[in-house]
Every structure is written in C-alpha cells, then in structure tokens.
Amino acid sequence: MRAIRLRPVPWHLLFFLGPAVVIYTLFSAWPLLDTLRLSLYTSAGPGQRVFHGLGNFVTLLTDPHWSAAFWNALWNNTKFFLIHLLVQNPIGLLLAALISLPGLRLARTYRTLIFLPTLLSVVIIGFIWQLILSPLWGVSEGLLEAVGLGHLFSAWLGRESTALITLALISVWQFVGIPLMLLYASLIQVPDELIEAAVVEGASSWRIFWQIKFPLILPTLGLVTILTFVGNFNAFELIYAVKGALGGPNFSTDILGTFFYRTFFGYQSQVGSPTMGAAVASMMFFIILCGVMVYLYVIQRRLHRYDV
C-alpha cells in the first residue's frame, strides 16, 4: 500500500491519453451528445427552439408520412447489410483462404489488386459502375451477349426490384478487400505446428480449414461482421452518388443515410429540419448501438482466442 501512496502523479498517462481524450471528446463524444440533445427540441418559429420531449421520435414512428419513409429506409438498410454479410464476407473469406495458401504465386499482386477499389473514392466507383451498367453506353450488355446471356440484361440500376441489390453488389465489389485483409492477417497467424500436427494425423485440407483454421479466425470474422454492420448502417455516399438523395426509383434504394440527409438538410423544396434530422440521426445511433451491444455481450463473450 505504501508503495502506491508514494507513487508520483502518473503524468505520462496524462501525456499519452490526453490528446486522444481531448480530440475524441471534442470531435466525437460532444457532437454525439449534442445531437441527442437536439433531437429533443423542435423549431418554434424562425430561429427559436423549444423543448419537445420525445415528440420528434413519436412523429417519426407514428406519423404515417414519416414512419412509412423511416421503416422503408430501415428495411432497405437491413437488406443492404444482409447482402454484404452474405456476399462480401464469404467472398472475403474465400479469397483470404486462397491467398494464404502456402506456395501461391503472385499472392501479393492479387491482394493488392483486390484491395485497390477500397482506396478509390465512392464517387468514382459510382460513376464507373453507372457507365458499365448503362444500357446506352455501357459494356455489360455486350459482354453478356458475347457469352449468350444478352437476354438477361436490363436497366438494373433503374428498376425498383433490382436497384438496391445492384448498388449493394457494387459496394461489395468495392469493399471486399477489407474482410480479405483482416481475415488474411488472421489466417497467417494460425500456428504452423497445429497444421503440421493435423497433416501428420492425415487430415484433408478441407478438414484442416473448417476444424482448425476457421475456429481460430472466428474472433476476426466477428469483428468483420460488426464492422460491416456499422459501416452499412452509416452508408450514404454510394447511394447518393448514383441515385441522388431521393434514393429512387420510388425510394427503393433509400437507406437511413439518405433519409437522414433529406430530413436534416432538406432536398429541393423540402425544407430541412435540424431537430427532426437529429432525431433520425439518434435513431441511427441507437440501431447501431443495439447491434454492437448484441455483438459484445452475446457473441464476443463466447469467443475464445487460442493461447499458445
């Protein structure tokens, strides 16, 4: 005890933690709390705000004009996330497993090429894919015809039934490099002696992957899932770049990000409402918070890391 009492003030802790705490508080925590506060107010005439309790949330969830748009955006966002979860992460896992195979030639080149789109601006991605898929100038129709599938082509980005799926797949194409990198890093850390032991026991590659490597990278897969979840429920740029803030046609690509944008900033003659926008932003925050909590308390607790 005496030793602790005599210990000098831990200035070094302050020195190392201070900048991060200050920056995080100033640019992240405080704006977040202020947004939550703003969502409890409403506009009362020019430039005046009055306390409104949970009124904005009640409007958002019960007023048919608001709630229909909100649930539509939430449902579209969920679909957007599920497509990422079911397409992006398995492909990322497959590619990571292939690239981490010992003796694969040009592994680094593949890795770099697959990761490259992640570094490009979403606006460029949106523009390129819009051109590729354009029925007027695009190459996709010709490519499909070349392999005898021309009849399958349609204006995918313009139809209510396909626009959201197409956009989600474009986003998958862009971001598949991230699960690839994380899972790859995790796969190459699997201790060699485990795999060697399994080989000696006569296990097939298939069995080695599913019964040895896969359980050991599960924590990383969980991390990738939660990163995908947070990223998708905050998504905005790609939809905005390709379809505009209305998420057309008929709001079939409207996700929470675009819905928030219209509510907060307004769009064309729709007048923006900072307080209502803050309410939508708070709902987004709560949704993401719930998802992350489920992950932390239900999934992550059950994951065990392999200790050598």
């Binding site: 204006a155 313009g158 505009g244 209305l246 057309g248 046609p249 900033f265 769009y267 003659s269």
Partner: protein, 415 residues
C-alpha cells in the same frame, strides 16, 4: 529575427488594408452550367461600372443548392447575394430571417406584379428577391430526323403521338430522349410541361389552390395517362438513364425529340452536332388552347448577415437595369429577363420559344406556389409518381390519388 517579424507584420497590415479597400461580393447560385458566363461576361460588366466592388460567383450543384445554402445561412457562412428559387423555398428563407426585405428598392418598379409574385409574401406586403428570369418549357427536336422521315411538327396530342409512332417504327432513332433515373424530369419537364394544356393553365392551378378541383379530376389525371404511353418511345433501359445521358443522346443525333426547358438551349448550342429547333407543348384536341409553362425561375436576394449590404444593393439595382436584361437574355441563352424592358432575343431557338407567349396562354409550374409547403412534400411526390408512371410501375389513377391524398392531408381548402 526581429526585423523579419516586423516585415511580416507590415506585410499582413498592408494586405488587410488592401482587402478592406475593395469590397468583395459573393454570389450563391445553383447555375453551375453558367459559371463561365457569369465570370467572363456578366460580372466584368458590373465591375467595370463599379471598380471598387469585386464579385465572386460561387455555384453549388442544383439538387444540393437549397440544402447547402440553407445550412450556410444558418451557420452564418453564406455569401452576400443569394440566388432565389421561386415561391416557397425563398419565402421560407425570408420568414426565417435569412433574406433582406427589398420592397422599398426603387428598382422593383422595373418588374410586373406577376414577376414579383414569385418572391413576395402571401399578403403582398414584402418582396425579398429581385426577379431575374423565367424559363419556358417545351420540346426541342432534331429537324434532320424530321426531314428524313418526312414529319411535320406536331400541333395536337394525337399528332404528337403519331410522330412518336412513326419515328419508333420507321427508323432506328430513339423517339424521346428522356430517362427516369434522376426523377425530377418527370415532373419539371414532363407533367408540368404537357399538363397545362389538359387542366387549362392558370385556371386549373387556381382551382386546385381554392379547393374547387382535385388531382383525381379527369383534367389532372389525363396528363398522367398521356405519360403512361411514353415508355415505349423512351428507348431501351430508360429507367436508369440520367439527365446527362438524355442530353448526350439528343446532342449526338440519336434521339429525335427532347422534352425540356429553355435553359438547355445554351448547352445544346455548344454540344449539338446539328441545328436544333423547338416546338411548344401540344394542344389537347383540334381546337384546344396552347398553354406554356412560363416559369418565374430565378431571382436574387441579399443575406442580412452580409457586411456589404450597400454594395449588394448596388448589384441588385444593376440586375434590374435594361443593360443587364439585354445581357442576361442573350448571353445566358434560355433565361428570359423578367423586367419590363424591351429586349430583342438574338438566339433563334430562344426567340422561337419566347414567341410562344404571343399565341399561348402562360402559367407557372403547377405545384410551385403554396402546394410545396406541406408534408409530404409535393415536389418529391410528383417526382416519384411521375417516374413510376413513366416506368409503367403505377397507373395514372393511382398516381393522382397518391398526390391528392398527400395534398388534402394538410391543405385546408382541399379537406
């Protein structure tokens, strides 16, 4: 060391003095397409007359303009001069205290009441933006394709559809250069372009406002019914065709008819590979009246937070002058000055369009005044249902009902 600090201080002081000497005005605008014209043609004329004032043109893309300017005004970072959208958007800015009251400016007398009405409060007491220009809606067409197929400019709805049929069947050209990806076209250059001939222009618009007509009446459903027939003429994959795609399709000579507004003239003067021409929206029936959407589109007001309000007023006075009217109408082709001055229009297509005012009745875009104030926002609703009707995803009757339901949910005269 010391001398260098003194030097730096002196330099900073000198710079500040130089800056404070000349006033700089910043214009917020959505006319990205015209920024060269403002910087190279319009502004130099003003600066020559007022050497102590410098003007900077700072455009934002049209679909983002309203929200961006609103945010900048609230944050206090907006420019001195605000380009005004007509009616409710600017009215809302004025009521929020983000536009100066300009009622007392003498230059306001250079404009007719109808021009001022787009930027005047409902009670007529205050005007808050200097009117600048209107745009006229209609159709551009490719006369070479018309000559090749021996077509005449259509006068009535039946003739219009017959022309589309002929182009579709007897040539490989796309009859209509129009897409629904961006959605706004379906209202601003389709429904409110061809519609006034069905609902009788101003009379129909006023009937909606005073509650004696509704969107489900035949005259307001009919334009949707007409639009439902356009899908087969709009070319393959029009559902994902953007406004830019449509412009390219027409300027490359691959499409015959381009529904649009006069603002596109200057673009096609630069881009089109042929001499294009224009015809007005069709009449309904042989003895139907021709009605054009002659929309008061653009004005300019002053940011109350501006430190250069006096210079800004000088600029607005110049905007109201005959010199500006002539310059703007002829340099920014397709925007027709709203002032009372007689201005000769030199561009042949623009002159053709402004001549429609002789034979046709005029109205403004159907929903621009009052109807856009509520929730759900009618402008967005019209974009959505208009695109769905063009896409064949919604019947005309459903479209009309959805608009009417939204309208009557908040507008007392419709309840």
């Amino acid at each position: 060391m010391r001398s260098s600090i003194q030097y730096a201080l002196g330099l900073a002081l000198a710079t500040t003095m130089a800056v404070s000497h000349a006033t700089t005005l910043t214009i917020e605008s959505w006319r990205v397409d015209d920024s060269d014209l403002w910087e190279d043609v319009l502004i130099p004329v003003f600066e020559a007359e007022h050497p102590d004032i410098q003007v900077r043109f700072s455009p934002t893309s049209p679909t983002e303009y309203d929200s961006t300017v609103n945010a900048r005004l609230q944050a206090g970072t907006a420019g001195d001069l605000i380009t005004c959208r007509p009616f409710d958007v600017s009215l809302n800015l004025y009521q929020e205290g983000h536009l100066l009251d300009l009622t007392d400016m003498a230059a306001m007398d250079n404009f007719e009441d109808f021009a001022r009405s787009a930027w005047t409060t409902d009670d007529g007491a205050s005007t808050f933006c200097m009117p600048m220009a209107s745009v006229i809606h209609g159709f551009l067409y490719n006369p070479e394709i018309f000559a090749e197929l021996d077509l005449e400019v259509p006068r009535t709805e039946d003739e219009f559809l017959a022309v589309l049929d002929t182009i579709e069947q007897e040539s490989s050209y796309t009859p209509l250069a129009l897409g629904t990806n961006d959605q706004w076209e379906s209202n601003q250059i389709v429904y409110t372009n061809i519609g006034p001939a069905f609902w009788g222009g101003e009379a129909g618009r006023q009937a909606l406002l005073d509650g004696s007509a509704s969107f489900t009446d035949p005259e307001f459903v009919a334009p949707f019914e007409h639009m439902a027939r356009w899908g087969e003429y709009m070319g393959r994959g029009y559902e994902s065709q953007t406004y830019g795609d449509s412009q390219n399709l027409f300027s490359l000579g691959r499409a015959a008819i381009y529904p649009t507004g006069s603002w596109d003239i200057s673009y096609f003067n630069q881009q089109a590979l042929f001499e294009f021409d224009a015809f007005p929206p069709f009449r309904v029936g042989d003895d139907g009246q021709c009605v054009i959407s002659d929309h008061t589109d653009i004005g300019m007001g002053i940011n109350p937070d501006s430190e250069n309000a006096e210079a800004a007023k000088l600029f607005l006075e110049w905007l109201a002058s005959e010199g500006f009217a002539r310059l703007y109408t002829n340099e920014v082709t397709g925007f027709f000055s709203l002032s009372k001055h007689e201005v000769e229009v030199r561009d042949p297509v623009a002159a053709e369009m402004i001549n429609w005012r002789q034979d046709c009745d005029s109205t403004i875009r159907l929903n621009a005044q009052i109807m856009n104030r509520g929730t759900p926002n009618m402008e967005q609703e019209l974009w959505t249902v208009g695109s769905r009707v063009l896409n064949g995803a919604m019947t005309p009757q459903e479209a009309a009902e959805r608009i009417q339901n939204g309208f009557s949910s908040w507008y007392a005269p419709q309840q």
